[in-house]
Amino acid sequence: MMEARQEKGIDLLQGTLDLLILKAVSLGPLHGYGVLLRIQQISGEELVIQQGSLYPALYRLEHQGAIVGEWGESENNRRAKYYRLTAAGRERLGEETRKWERMAGIIGTILSSVAEGA
């Protein structure tokens, strides 16, 4: 299952992981593995997130005050750290989303441009 997923999946663009984590966590508190699953589920199993890069990104966002982690019990009764968005994180998510949409629009415009004589 995992190999097949990695074969067809697209690697994440540089610098977009933080934004995706913020979005995933904004939908409800999640533990690290839950964040991974939710991003893959929302992307329709199209995006491949390197599991090694997930935790440093979570810790970075927590360090910056965008998310906050609290220890709780997971579905299998194990101690797990659940992350939720803070007010600063919500603000940052909005800002980063606007920036991303603007950038995607600009790139789209450039890519759809045609030669003047054509």
Binding site: M1, G32, Y33, Y55, A57, S74, K81, A88
Partner: protein
């Protein structure tokens, strides 16, 4: 980014760094528990997908990759990579990582210490009134210091 958000981020980073340094052992335990939880969840999912338990555990470990590297990344995210301030808090980590300047200097320091140690203690132990012993100690120190400098020059 708005100035208010920048200030909030700086304050949060500082607070997080102080907390991480002050509760270093607790942080290490939390990192360990979080990665273990991830591994367990991934293994459970693979078993649920039809893999035998041993194979599922193996695949989960492969998918997660090097735990040591992840731990380093998590510590670095919290600003705990600086050698002189935070690493000094935990002497085990202070000397364990090859990235820190003290860790790189440590073998050389130990080598010099081993060469110099006996004569340094010798004149202190000798009777202060006995000039012969003191002279012997001084000569020994000079001889050993020369050996150290010669070895370091060759290196």
């Amino acid at each position: 980014m708005s100035p208010r958000l920048v200030v909030a981020r700086v304050i949060a980073s500082l607070r997080s760094w102080v907390r991480s340094v002050a509760r270093r052992h607790r942080l290490e335990a939390e990192i360990e528990a979080e990665l273990a939880c991830h591994l367990e969840n991934l293994t459970a999912d693979l078993i649920h997908a039809g893999h035998p338990p041993a194979e599922a555990a193996r695949q989960a470990r492969l998918a997660l990759g090097s735990v040591t590297v992840h731990k380093e990344g998590m510590r670095a995210s919290l600003g705990l990579w600086q050698p002189c301030c935070s690493r000094a808090w935990s002497s085990r980590c202070f000397l364990a990582s090859s990235h820190t300047i003290p860790a790189r200097c440590w073998p050389g320091f130990c080598f010099c210490w081993r060469l110099l140690w006996p004569p340094v203690g010798f004149p202190l132990a000798a009777h202060p009134g006995c000039s012969r012993w003191r002279l012997y100690g001084t000569i020994e120190i000079e001889k050993r210091a020369l050996r150290v400098s010669a070895v370091l020059t060759i290196r």
